[in-house]
C-alpha cells in the first residue's frame, strides 16, 4: 500500500517555475530519494507534500488523507525534518521534543516515555536536559531528526539532513534512516549526495529544473541510460599488444591504451574480466592492477542533464 501519492505538483514563484508536474509514490517501508543539485526543486516539492507550501496544481495524499496548507488531519501522518536545523536554542532537547509532541497531539500520559525513547534513539539521553544552544552541530542535527520521528509518522520527510554534518554524525544519521526503512516507515529523502541516495534509497528520482528526469531503482536508472562498466588495467609490457588482442571480443565496446594502462568499457565487468585476464596472459602482457568502475547515479545524472550533481 502506498503511504504517499502525489501527482501533477507544480509551483512557480513569479516567473520562476520551481516545480513542474512532479509525481511519485512511496510504499510503506520504502525509502525514496529525490536526487538533484541545489535549486533543482527538491525543497519546494517536499514543502508542498508536507502541507507547508501551497501548490499551484497537483494533489498529495498521505495515508489516504489529502494534504494542503488548509488541511490538518493528514499532517499528523507526516514527520518533517527541514534542511535547516529547526529547534529552539533556549530550550532543552527534552523541552523541544515535549513542545512538538504536544502540537502533534501525543497524549500526555505517553508523551514523557516517548520523549525518553526518542532521546535514546538519537543518542541524547545524557544531554536531554541541556539547552540545545550548548550542543554541537551533529547533536543539533540528531535532535532535528528526533523531532520528526517523535509522533511515529507514516511518512518521514528528510530534507538534506546531512548537509554540514561531520562524518561521524553523518554516518549515524544514515544508519538511523536505514533502520527507519526496516521498521516500515516510508521515507522521502532529498539529497544532492549521490552516495547517500545509492546507500539508502530503494528507488530514486532524478530531479532537475523542477522536473523529474528519471525514476527507478539504481540498476533501472543505470540501464535506462545504457551505462556500462569500466575496467582499468595496469599493465607490464606493451599495452598496445593487449589492445590488439582484446579488440576482437564482442563484449568490449571501447578500449583505450596509454603507456602502462588500458581502459576497457564493457557490459557486465564481472563476467568479462576473467576472459580479459586470460587474453592478457596469452599475449604475454603482465597485469599489475585491476580496477572495476561500475556506473553510478552521478554518471546517470550527468547523462540525463548534461551537468554534474554539484554544479
Amino acid at each position: 500500500m502506498n503511504v504517499l501519492e502525489c501527482e501533477g505538483l507544480a509551483k512557480a514563484f513569479d516567473e520562476l517555475v520551481a516545480v513542474d508536474d512532479v509525481g511519485f509514490h512511496i510504499a510503506a517501508g520504502e525509502t525514496y530519494g529525490l536526487l538533484g543539485p541545489n535549486g533543482a526543486g527538491k525543497t519546494t516539492t517536499i514543502s508542498m507534500i508536507s502541507g507547508i507550501l501551497e501548490s499551484d496544481a497537483g494533489k498529495v495524499t498521505v495515508a489516504g488523507k489529502e494534504i494542503t496548507t488548509r488541511t490538518t488531519d493528514g499532517n499528523a501522518e507526516i514527520g518533517y525534518v527541514p534542511q535547516d536545523i529547526a529547534i529552539y536554542p533556549d530550550l532543552t532537547a527534552r523541552e523541544n521534543l515535549r513542545f512538538f509532541g504536544k502540537l502533534y497531539g501525543i497524549p500526555k500520559a505517553s508523551l514523557g516515555p516517548r520523549v525518553d525513547e526518542v532521546l535514546e534513539v538519537i543518542g541524547l539521553s545524557d544531554r536531554g536536559d541541556d539547552r540545545t544552544e550548548e550542543y554541537s552541530g551533529g547533536m543539533k542535527r540528531r535532535l532535528n531528526i528526533g523531532i520528526g520521528l517523535l509522533h511515529e509518522p507514516s511518512l518521514l520527510i528528510l530534507d538534506e539532513p546531512t548537509v554540514g554534518v561531520d562524518p561521524q554524525s553523518r554516518n549515524s544519521i544514515l544508519e538511523s534512516v536505514e533502520l527507519l526503512g526496516q521498521s516500515g516507515t516510508a521515507v522521502l529523502y532529498t539529497t544532492h549526495y549521490m552516495e547517500e541516495a545509492e546507500r539508502l534509497c530503494d528507488r530514486v528520482a532524478i530531479i532537475d529544473g523542477g522536473k523529474i528526469r528519471a525514476e527507478g531503482t539504481r540498476r533501472e536508472l543505470v540501464e535506462l541510460v545504457g551505462q556500462r562498466d569500466t575496467i582499468n588495467l595496469g599493465v607490464i609490457g606493451s599495452a598496445y599488444r593487449l589492445v590488439e588482442a582484446l579488440e576482437s571480443m564482442p563484449e568490449i565496446h571501447k578500449i583505450t591504451a596509454a603507456d602502462a594502462s588500458v581502459e576497457i568499457l564493457v557490459d557486465g565487468a564481472s563476467s568479462v574480466l576473467p576472459r580479459i585476464l586470460e587474453v592478457a596472459q596469452q599475449s604475454e602482457v603482465g597485469v599489475s592492477g585491476v580496477e572495476v568502475v561500475e556506473p553510478n547515479l552521478e554518471s546517470v545524472f550527468l547523462h540525463l542533464t548534461g551537468k554534474a550533481l554539484r554544479d
Binding site: G51, T69, Y80, A86, Y88, F100
Partner: protein
C-alpha cells in the same frame, strides 16, 4: 485554541527565561516611574510655603467667590498662603521683592467684559525665579474658571524680576492680551497627579516594548527555522498567529497589572476604579498588540522589527504624552496626541482618578479598540507573507 495555548506557553516560558520581558515590562517602567516620582514631587510636597497675593479691582460676582471661597479653601489645605493687596502695583512690587511668589490680579471691568460676551483677562504675575509656584497658582485659577464654565476667559501670566519697572509692569498687566485662553474644560482634560501620571505613563510607554515579544517571535520562528515545523504540524495557521497574540496579550497585561499594583503600594499612585483600570488596560494592550503586529509584518527580520518597533513605540509615547502632561504643551499637540493609544489610555485614567464613573472609560476604551481593529485588519493583509515558510 489548544494549539495556540501550547505555542503561547512555550513562548512565555522562553520570555521569562531570557528575562528581557521582565526587564522591559516591569523593571524599566517601574524604575523610571520611581525616579520621576522622586525628582518631580507632588503638589503637597512643595506648596506649603508658597505665598500668593490677590488684588480684586473688579469686586464682582465672579471674582468674589474665588477670593472669598476658593482661595481660603486652598489655604486651609496648606497648598497656598494668601495675602490681599490694594493695588496691582503693590502686589507686583511684592512679587518683585520675593515676598510672594505670584499674584492674582482681577482688573476692573473684568466681569463686565465677560458678561458683554467679550474676552476678559485675569493676570497672574509670578516671580521669574519661582515658575513652579506660578504654574500652581495658575492651575488653581484654571480649575476655578473651569468650574464656572468661563469659556473665553483669558489668563495672562507675567514674570517679574528684581529691578523691574513696577509701574510699567502694572500698566502692561492692565493692557496685556491673554497668554492662555481657556477652552471648554471637559472631563477629558482632567489630569493625574504626578506620581500616578508617571506610573501610568511609563506603564503604557513600555507596554509597546513588552507586547512586541509575542508578535515579533513569529519572525524569530522563521529565523530559527522552526516556522516550517509549525506550519507542517497538524494545526491551523491561525493557531500559530493566535499563539503569538496570546503571548503578547498576557505579557502586556501582566506587566500593566504588576506596575499598577507596585506603584500603588510603593509610591502611592492612585489609578482609580480597579474595574475601569482593568478595562483600559485590556483595551490598551490590544491596541499596542495591533500596532506592534502591523510593524512586525512590515519587517523582514527580527532585528528590523525590533528597530521599527522601538521607533514607533518612542514616537507614539512622546506624542501621546507619556513623559509630560499634554496640557503643558501646545494645544495642537493635545489634538495630535489623540492619534496615539497612549493619550486615550491616560485620558481614561485621568477621568477615573477624578472620580468619574465607569462610563468615563467607554470612549477611551472604544478608541483603543479602534486602534486594534484597524491595525490588525491591515496586518492581516500581509498575513500570507508572514506565514510563508
Amino acid at each position: 485554541m489548544r494549539a495556540s495555548m501550547i505555542i503561547a506557553l512555550k513562548d512565555l516560558s522562553q520570555r521569562i527565561r531570557d528575562k528581557s520581558a521582565i526587564l522591559l515590562g516591569i523593571v524599566a517602567p517601574l524604575g523610571l516611574a520611581l525616579i520621576f516620582a522622586a525628582i518631580i514631587p507632588d503638589a503637597s510636597d512643595f506648596t506649603s510655603d508658597i505665598q500668593v497675593g490677590v488684588v480684586d479691582d473688579d469686586r464682582s460676582a465672579i471674582s468674589a467667590p474665588f477670593i472669598n471661597d476658593v482661595l481660603p479653601s486652598v489655604e486651609a489645605d496648606g497648598l497656598l498662603t494668601v495675602e490681599s493687596y490694594d493695588s496691582a502695583e503693590t502686589a507686583i512690587a511684592a512679587v518683585d521683592a520675593g515676598t510672594i511668589s505670584a499674584a492674582y490680579i482681577f482688573p476692573e471691568g473684568f466681569s463686565d467684559s465677560l458678561q458683554a460676551g467679550g474676552e476678559a483677562t485675569v493676570e497672574i504675575v509670578g516671580n521669574v525665579d519661582d515658575s513652579i509656584a506660578t504654574q500652581i497658582a495658575k492651575a488653581v485659577l484654571d480649575s476655578y474658571l473651569a468650574e464656572v464654565d468661563a469659556v473665553g476667559v483669558a489668563v495672562g501670566a507675567v514674570m517679574v524680576s528684581g529691578g523691574s519697572d513696577v509701574a510699567g509692569i502694572a500698566q502692561s498687566v492692565t493692557a496685556s492680551t491673554s497668554a492662555v485662553v481657556l477652552a471648554d474644560v471637559a472631563a477629558g482634560n482632567r489630569e493625574l497627579d504626578a506620581t500616578t501620571f508617571f506610573s501610568a505613563g511609563m506603564a503604557v510607554f513600555f507596554l509597546f516594548f513588552t507586547v512586541q515579544f509575542g508578535v515579533s517571535s513569529l519572525l524569530e520562528e522563521r529565523h530559527f527555522g522552526t516556522l516550517p515545523r509549525l506550519l507542517g504540524a497538524p494545526i491551523s495557521r491561525w493557531s500559530v498567529i493566535g499563539g503569538k497574540a496570546i503571548t503578547s496579550f498576557v505579557l502586556g497585561l501582566i506587566s500593566m497589572i504588576v506596575l499598577a499594583v507596585a506603584t500603588t503600594f510603593m509610591i502611592g499612585a492612585e489609578w482609580g476604579n480597579p474595574l475601569g483600570v482593568l478595562i483600559l488596560m485590556i483595551c490598551g494592550v490590544m491596541s499596542a498588540l495591533g500596532i506592534m503586529a502591523l510593524v512586525a509584518v512590515v519587517a523582514k527580520t527580527p532585528e528590523q522589527a525590533a528597530n521599527y518597533q522601538a521607533i514607533v513605540a518612542v514616537a507614539l509615547g512622546m506624542l501621546g504624552g507619556t513623559f509630560f502632561p499634554l496640557s503643558q504643551g501646545p494645544r495642537i499637540l493635545s489634538l495630535f496626541s489623540k492619534l496615539t493609544p497612549h493619550a486615550w489610555f491616560l485620558q481614561g485614567l485621568g477621568d477615573l482618578s477624578a472620580g468619574e464613573s465607569l462610563k468615563a472609560v467607554v470612549t477611551p476604551a472604544l478608541a483603543l479598540l479602534a486602534f486594534f481593529v484597524v491595525t490588525i485588519g491591515i496586518a492581516s493583509i500581509w498575513r500570507k507573507e508572514v506565514l510563508a515558510p
